[in-house]
Each structure stands twice: as C-alpha cells, then as structure tokens.
C-alpha cells in the first residue's frame, strides 16, 4: 500500500470524482425524465404496486409496534414528572418528526431498495440492458426512471401510514391499556403538533429519503459487476449506503428544519 504517494492520491481523487459525477448525471437524467415517465404511467403504476403495496404490511406492523413501545416507554418517563397526559404529544411528535420518516426509510431500503438493486443487477447480468440499447430503447428512461419516480411517490405515503398507525398504537397502549385520559391524550397532541412545522416537515423529510434510497439502489444496481458476486455485493452496498445516508441526511434536515 503506497497510499501516501501523490499519484495514488490523484488517482483516488479522480476515480471518486468520476463516480460522483456519474451518479449526479444519472440522478439529473432521472429527474429530468419526470414528464416522459409520467406520460407512460403504466410503468410507474406497476412499480408503485411492487414497491408500495408489498411494503405496506411491514410498514404497518412496524409502525404499530413502534407506537406500542413509545406509549410504554414514554409513559414510564412522563409519569415520573406527573405529566402522563402529555403522552399523546410525545408519541405524535417523535413519530411525525423523526421516527416515522427515518424508520420507514430504513425498512424501505431493506425491503424495496435491495430488491431494486438485485433486479437491475440481474437485468445487467443477463445483458438485458445491452439488448435494450441495441433496440434503441433507452434503459434509463424505460427501466430506471419509472422505478425512481415510483419510489419517490411511495416513500412519503409509507411514512404517513407509519406515523398514523404509530399514533394509533400509542393510543392503544396509553389510553386503552395504561389508562391515560383519552381527551387529554388527543388534546395535548393537537395543541403541540403543528400542521406545517411538524407534519409538513416530516413529509419533506420522507420525500428526501425516498429520493436518496431509491437513487442509491438504482445506481448500485446499474453499476453492479455483471456477476453473481457483483450483484450480491451491490445489494449489500445498497442497504449499507442508503441506511447511512438516511441517518446522515436526517441529521442535516433536522438541523435545518427544527433548530433556530
């Protein structure tokens, strides 16, 4: 390893720039293909069905259990300060602002992102992409862009389902099981949660996460080595990179949105 050698540094920088530039170009192309993609909505619809409907079960169940746990743990902390009526506020704020978008994005990366990468990597392994190009069909607009836009549409909806189910889960544990007053539960929640500042920013967050996770998955699949090992390592990279980028982006977005 001669990592200190100037030539190595130069080569590493150049290949890094090359990868980033390639990724940025791919992202720009997919964003610019919004119009043509939406005109062929059938492709997007099938992808929404694949990415969204099949993720709905895991999102709903996870949201319910996260809500249960938030209700129990939140009550344990709040009752020490004699303010267990604020349980609804605690559950709703933590779900809408943080946990809803973040956990949904992590689950989505594992459930849908990995399968996107594997699908596209295998298409590449089977030389379907090359075959499309031979037939003068652009694989980016035919294969990648519909998946990208479907993922971007699906993520905010999944995050909203997660948060809503989580609030209901917190209600079940807090009100039905523990016995917090139902009126206080809802009124504290409604008094403390702002539609635009909290719910709206949560939607913006989940939108950004949808772009990030779907883009990472597609890029890794499209760039995968066309071998079985290449596809499997690309799938692993998708989960690792998209999870880390979701957590990093979440910190940046939280700083931008909620700190004054």
């Amino acid at each position: 390893m001669r990592w200190w050698h100037p030539a190595d540094v130069g080569q590493a920088t150049r290949s890094l720039m090359d990868q980033w530039g390639y990724g940025a170009r791919l992202l720009t192309r997919m964003v610019l293909l919004f119009g043509p993609t939406m005109r062929r909505f059938g492709l997007v619809r099938d992808q929404i069905h694949f990415l969204g409907n099949y993720s709905l079960a895991i999102i709903t169940v996870s949201g319910l259990f996260v809500g249960f746990v938030l209700g129990l743990q939140g009550y344990y902390t709040l009752q020490r300060y004699g303010s267990s009526e604020a349980l609804g506020l605690l559950v709703a704020l933590s779900l809408v602002r943080e946990l809803g978008p973040v956990i949904t994005a992590l689950l989505y990366a594992g459930r849908a992102g990995a399968s996107l990468t594997a699908e596209i990597g295998l298409m590449k392994t089977g030389e379907q992409m090359a075959a499309m190009e031979m037939m003068a069909v652009d694989p980016i607009s035919r294969v990648l862009a519909p998946r990208f836009w479907a993922g971007v549409i699906v993520m905010p909806l999944l995050a909203a389902v997660f948060s809503a189910v989580g609030v209901l889960g917190g209600y079940v544990v807090g009100v039905l099981l523990i016995g917090v007053d139902a009126g206080a539960f809802w009124s504290q929640m409604q008094g403390g949660v702002d539609v635009f500042k909290d719910v709206g920013n949560g939607v913006v967050k989940s939108f950004v996460f949808g772009v990030a996770v779907t883009f990472v998955a597609l890029l890794q699949g499209y760039e995968a080595q066309p071998t079985p090992e290449g596809v499997s390592s690309a799938t692993t990279r998708t989960v690792v990179i998209s999870s880390l980028s979701v957590l990093g982006l979440d910190f940046i977005l939280t700083v931008m949105m909620f700190s004054i």
């Binding site: 099938d46 969204g52 809408v96 809503a164 949660v193 539609v195 909290d198 719910v199 939607v203």
Partner: protein
C-alpha cells in the same frame, strides 16, 4: 390507457397513504384550529418579558384571543417591545392591561389581557402602556432573602446594603 389489475391496488395504496396524512393533519395536529381570522396588531412595552417567546398565546379569561408576534428590545426606553396580533372578532377597551403569566408552576409563559373600562376600543397600531412584567424567580428569591435578613439578626458580613 387500458386498466390493469394493479390499478385498484395502487389506487387503494395511494388512498391509504393520503388518509394517513389527513389523519395526521386533522387528528394529531391542529389544522382545524388554525384561524384564518383577520387580526389587528397592538404593541406593548414590558420592563421584563422573562421567558416569553414569539407565538405564545394571548389569553383573556383563559381563552386564546391572539398570539405574540415578535419581541424586540427598544434601546430608547430600555424596555422590551412586544407586538401582539389579536383576532379582530375580539375587541378590548383602550385602557386594558397586560400581564405576563405562567401556566402551571413550570409551564409556558403567556400574556393575560384584562379588559379596562374605556369607551373606546383598541385599534391596530395602538400601544398598551399598562403592563406588568414577568415574575423573575431570582428577583423573588432575592427580595425574600433581603426581607429575611432585615428582620432577623444579621450575621456580620452578609448585611444587605440598602
């Protein structure tokens, strides 16, 4: 475009997602309580606003009648200048007085407005001079210690200066 069997499932998925959003907006947030009433702005000067924050409530008889819009420092009178935005459907006499109150022992601070007896009502751009500052806990403790020290036999060296 021909319909496919996926259409109904995708449609259901989108509807469920939108219903979740509507649920969050209506049930867990305060979309219905957002007031689109017209407001009028009134200024007030306080010697000390304590922990009052913008967007804090302005209450009369416990009912929210407006919000604190901004808090700035006036370097002419060395007072805090608080802009209040009151809902137009609530009118108050010109000599109404303001107090900074705290909800509960450790709760949020808000402004209480007590109606006066003037014939004329407050209008936009008026300044309310009759205000009572926030209770600052340190000052209260200080006063308490002074009065204690004044009545009891003062230990040498801790005699408060008058």
């Amino acid at each position: 475009m021909e319909r496919s069997k996926n259409d109904i499932w995708v449609g259901l998925f989108v509807l469920i997602g939108l219903a979740a959003l509507v649920f969050l907006a209506l049930k867990s947030a305060n979309l219905l309580n957002l007031s689109f009433e017209s407001n009028y702005r009134v200024a007030a000067k306080f010697d000390n606003v304590g922990g009052l924050k913008p967007r804090a409530a302005v209450k009369s008889a416990g009912v929210v009648v407006g919000r604190v819009e901004s808090i700035t420092f006036d370097d002419k009178s060395f007072q805090a200048r608080v802009m209040l935005s009151l809902e137009s459907r609530y009118q108050f006499p010109k000599d109404s007085s303001l107090k900074i109150l705290t909800s509960g022992l450790l709760g949020e601070q808000y402004i209480g407005i007590e109606a006066g007896a003037d014939e004329k009502n407050l209008a936009g751009g008026d300044t309310i001079a009759n205000t009572q500052s926030a209770v600052v806990l340190e000052n209260l403790i200080g006063q308490f210690l002074y009065s204690k020290a004044a009545e009891g036999p003062a230990t040498p060296g801790t005699t408060p200066k008058k």
